[in-house]
Structure formats: structure tokens, C-alpha cells
Amino acid sequence: MDQNPEPENPQSADHAAGRGHIEFKNVSKGYGEEWDWQDVVLDLSMDVEPGKLTAVVGPSGCGKSTLVNLVAGFEMPEKGAILLNGNRITGPSHDRIVVFQETALMPWQTTYENIIFGPKIRGDMDKQELHEEAIRLLDKVGLRDFRDKYPLQLSGGMQRRAELARAIVNDPEVLIMDEPFRGLDAMTRELMQEFFLRLFEEHRRTNLFVTSEIEEAIMLADKLIILSNRPTRVRQIIDIELPRPRDFHMLATEEAYRYKSTALEILHEEAMKTFKTERNTQSDFVEAFSRRNQN
């Protein structure tokens, strides 16, 4: 549980520092049939800067997971464009790898098989090289002794670390984290956050980190983007200027506390709006009908 990432081997494939730059340009995305159309993301523009950890927080039910799906290329925006290093994203690719909520390891593959999955099916890495890289990553995430175990035999924290290794072996330009530590107990969660901090600070791989925990966001992020209530827009951008390397004690500083109270105030405002709109869903429904009849 308490294993730290080891010093980096310079010859490794982890040389992605600061490569990936994601830009949202007036992106809109919605769901539903014509008559009950719901805008989830509306005219959203933001930057995920290279080499930085951009944390995205927002009231529950705002389109955080939709943003993840859009960047990963699982879904396409109706309007606007998302660019990776200036090129429009048109589908999933291993230059953007998602670490999912809970765990999305293949249950029928051992830890080792899960980690080598991507390079193996693409066939873009020499077999011996891949094996060495996998072993190196297993060491790094402290799972060497668990390489032949199946995901169900691992604890929650181990599963997340295996999943991180599975993502990193693909050497993505952008790592997308969709509430990766959700569902872990408080203790494990803290350890995972510190582990992840060190992993990030070592390589500074561009990271889009979606979370609903404000403290987690402040501790990890260079830039904190607070989203608005649905339809999602950028409500506020806060640059977190806590010094790196960071650790858990930073959350106790005056500075972190200021960030937290600012962010919480904005979030609370947005959450209240959600609350109000949820109480009005029935009238929304009626309104949707009347809008259809007018058109």
C-alpha cells in the first residue's frame, strides 16, 4: 500500500512530459430525441495545458463524465471541436487513455496480462522490451508479487494502481482520470493521492483529472476548473499555486484553505441551482412539450 514510485529510468518509454495539449473550442453536446433534447455541455471552451494537471470539479450531475467521453473520443460533440495539439479529435486512440471510475481491468486477465494489453494488441512494441517495461511498471506500482493474480484478488487500491500502470504503458500524451479514486476508503484514498502526486510530479504528463472531491482537486492540481450547473460551462478557473512537490500536509496551510473556501462557495452556488432545477423537472417536461408544439 505504501510503496512509492521509484526513481525514473531515463531509457523508459515515459517521456511524455508536457506533450499533450487539449483545447475545447465552443463545444456543445446534448442527448435525447428532438422533442426532449437536453444540452449537457453548452458552448464550453477550456484548455488542458501541456505538462499540467488540470482538475475539473462541478456539482453532481453536471456533465463531467461527458467531458471525459468527449476528450477520449468515445463521443463526438454536436458543435465546436476538441483539439489535441491542434488536431481535431475524431475517435479513441492510445494517445489519450482513460483511467475509469471504480475499476475497468479485464477480470479474465492477470495483472500482468492487463498491463501489457494495449501494446500487445497494437503490436507496436518489441516483445522483450514490452516485458521489461511491464515488469518495471509492476515494480513501480508495487504489484510485482501480484503479477499473476486476477483483478478480483486485488484490493481496491491495488486495482487502481494496476489500472494506472495499464494506462501508462501506452505512453499516452494525455492521461484522463474519471474520478479514479472514488469508492476507496478514506485511508487508501489518501495513500493513492500521494502515490499519484509523485507519479505525476516525476513526469508531468498532461493530466485531465475529473473529481467531485474539492480537497483532492486542490492537493493535486495546477489549475482548477469549476464547472457550472447543467448545461455545463466553465464557471471559474483557479490557478493553484501551491509549491511542488506536494504532500498531504499542504491541505492544512492557510493558502490551501483559501482556495478551498473560494471553490466551495462557487460550488455551493451551482449545487443550489441544480437542486432548484431538479425540483422543477416536471415543469421542464411540460415546457419541452410546448416548445415542440410551437416548432
Binding site: 477520449a72 468515445f74 475497468a104 479474465w108 494489453f117 494495449g118 494488441i121
Partner: protein, 285 residues
């Protein structure tokens, strides 16, 4: 009793004691054994009540005692016809079952991965599925040229629908995150099918196989009784029971019934064994 022995052997693999030692020391085993013996003794006494007390117990008094069944069994075991019945029923079950697996698994997967196929084939499939296999017997006796073929067809139907519905359900409930993760990492459609859809559906395939195997035995027995032991086809354990009934041998009826129980147990053990071997991640605890 079989369950007791089964669980005892499972437990035996965990320690260094030999399997037999473990079985002997397991309370489950002794409980099962004693329960079995007590049942047999009560059955024996119940069946022979009228010999001793001049009064026939209702229901139990009509059943032949276990000792008489054992004697009857001893009589049929050397006979060629008894083993031929085993062979014929087994062959029919396996034929129907294998055909159902070979056609049903790809069909179920196709329905799961292709929306158009599902829209075209699922409604008629759902209309045909609730029809009990036995309702197909008269029709297939007329339609198929030989009795043997109609029995095979009806056993096939018994397993087919269950297998398809399980495969379809299993493949449709795959966690979309697994597919998306694979897609991000560069999986082709081919990779997604062989490396994600198929392994994710294996547990459902084996569930379908186990249930389907049970139905196949039910159906084959009934079909054998209906089609009879004519010159073409016929025979089998179902016919063995029917024949014993016609000949008025209660003991042989019970022998036939227990034989079917054993046959079914052998088949489901086989499927369990295969399932354990092909899904090592499923037997971790």
C-alpha cells in the same frame, strides 16, 4: 449424498492432508452419509410395513423397498439392453446438446453484437421460445423421416433456446468501460470480439450450458417414451422406464429413474469441470 462428497473434496484441496483423510474428518461428509443411510432405512421399513404389520402405509407402501431395487439392478446390469439404453439416451442428449451449443452460441453472440440481426431475429425467437419442447414432438414425428431424427430435433430445441437467451443476456451486459478501454488502446473489432466479448460471455455460456443440459435430459426421456421402441429408433432410458411400467416391474422403474439421475449428474459434473478449467478467474475463492 453426492453434494456432501463434492464439497468435502473441494475443501480437501486446500490443506496438506490427503483428500480421503479430509473427507473422513469432515462433518459435512458424515452428516450426508448418515442422512443417506437413515433415508434408505426409513424407506426400507416403510415399504415393508405391510409384510410385518398387515397394514400398507399410504404412498410409501406402494414403492418397492431399496433392497428390492438393488436386486433388480443386479439383474439388469449384465443385460445388454440396459447398457444400450444408457448409450442411446447419452448419444441423443449429446447430439442435441452439442448441436444446440454449436448453433446457439454464435447465434446468441450475433444477436448481441449486431443490432439489425437482433431486430430481425429476436421477435420470432421470443415467440418460439415459450413453446415447450414436448409440444414439438407430434409435429416433428410427422416432419422428420425417422423417429431418431425427431428425438434429436426435440432435444436440440430443449437446449437451444436456453443457451441463446443466456449468451445474448451475458454478451449484452458487458461493462461498456471494458470495451471503451480496449478501443482506446487500439483494439480492432476482431480484438474486441475475441478478447473482450467472448471471455466476458463465457460465464453466461456455461450457465446456459448447465441449464440446457438439464432440459435436454428431461426432453430426451419424454421423447423416448412418446416415440416408443419401434423398429426404427426408440430404446433409451426413457423407453426402459416405460417398458418396465408396461411390464409391471416397479423395481425396474426405480432403477431407470436412479440411472437417469446418475447420468444427469455425470453430465453436469462434466460441464462444471470444463467451466472451472476454462475460467480460472472465476474460481478464486
Amino acid at each position: 449424498m453426492t453434494t456432501a462428497v463434492h464439497s468435502a473434496t473441494n475443501a480437501g484441496q486446500r490443506t496438506r492432508r490427503t483428500r480421503w483423510e479430509k473427507i473422513r474428518q469432515s462433518t459435512k461428509f458424515w452428516r450426508g452419509l448418515i442422512a443417506g443411510i437413515v433415508t434408505l432405512v426409513l424407506w426400507e421399513i416403510g415399504s415393508r410395513w405391510d409384510e410385518w404389520f398387515d397394514y400398507q402405509l399410504p404412498f410409501l407402501g406402494l414403492i418397492p423397498p431399496p433392497s428390492a431395487v438393488v436386486v433388480a439392478w443386479g439383474e439388469v446390469i449384465p443385460q445388454y439392453g440396459y447398457w444400450e439404453s444408457w448409450y442411446l439416451s447419452f448419444r441423443r442428449v449429446l447430439e442435441g446438446f452439442l448441436a444446440a451449443m454449436i448453433i446457439g452460441i454464435p447465434f446468441g453472440l450475433l444477436l448481441a453484437v449486431n443490432r439489425y440481426m437482433r431486430e430481425i431475429f429476436f421477435p420470432p425467437f421470443e415467440v418460439l421460445r415459450p413453446i415447450p419442447p414436448l409440444a414439438w414432438v407430434p409435429g416433428s414425428l410427422i416432419f422428420w423421416p425417422t423417429n431418431e431424427m425427431s428425438i434429436a430435433f426435440v432435444t436440440f430445441l430443449g437446449a437451444f433456446f436456453t443457451i441463446v437467451i443466456n449468451v445474448l443476456g451475458g454478451a449484452r451486459s458487458i461493462d461498456i468501460r471494458l470495451l471503451r478501454a480496449a478501443q482506446s488502446m487500439g483494439a480492432t473489432r476482431w480484438d474486441m470480439f475475441w478478447r473482450i466479448v467472448l471471455p466476458a460471455t463465457l460465464p453466461s455460456i456455461f450457465t446456459g450450458a448447465a441449464v440446457g443440459m438439464g432440459i435436454t435430459w428431461e426432453v430426451v426421456l419424454a421423447a423416448e417414451m412418446i416415440s416408443g421402441g419401434g423398429t426404427q429408433g426408440g430404446g433409451g432410458l426413457g423407453f426402459f422406464i416405460w417398458n418396465s411400467y408396461m411390464g409391471g416391474s416397479l423395481e425396474q422403474i426405480v432403477v431407470g429413474m436412479i440411472s437417469i439421475g446418475i447420468a444427469g449428474y455425470l453430465c453436469s459434473s462434466g460441464i462444471r469441470w470444463l467451466g472451472d478449467r476454462s475460467m480460472p478467474w472465476q474460481r478464486l475463492f
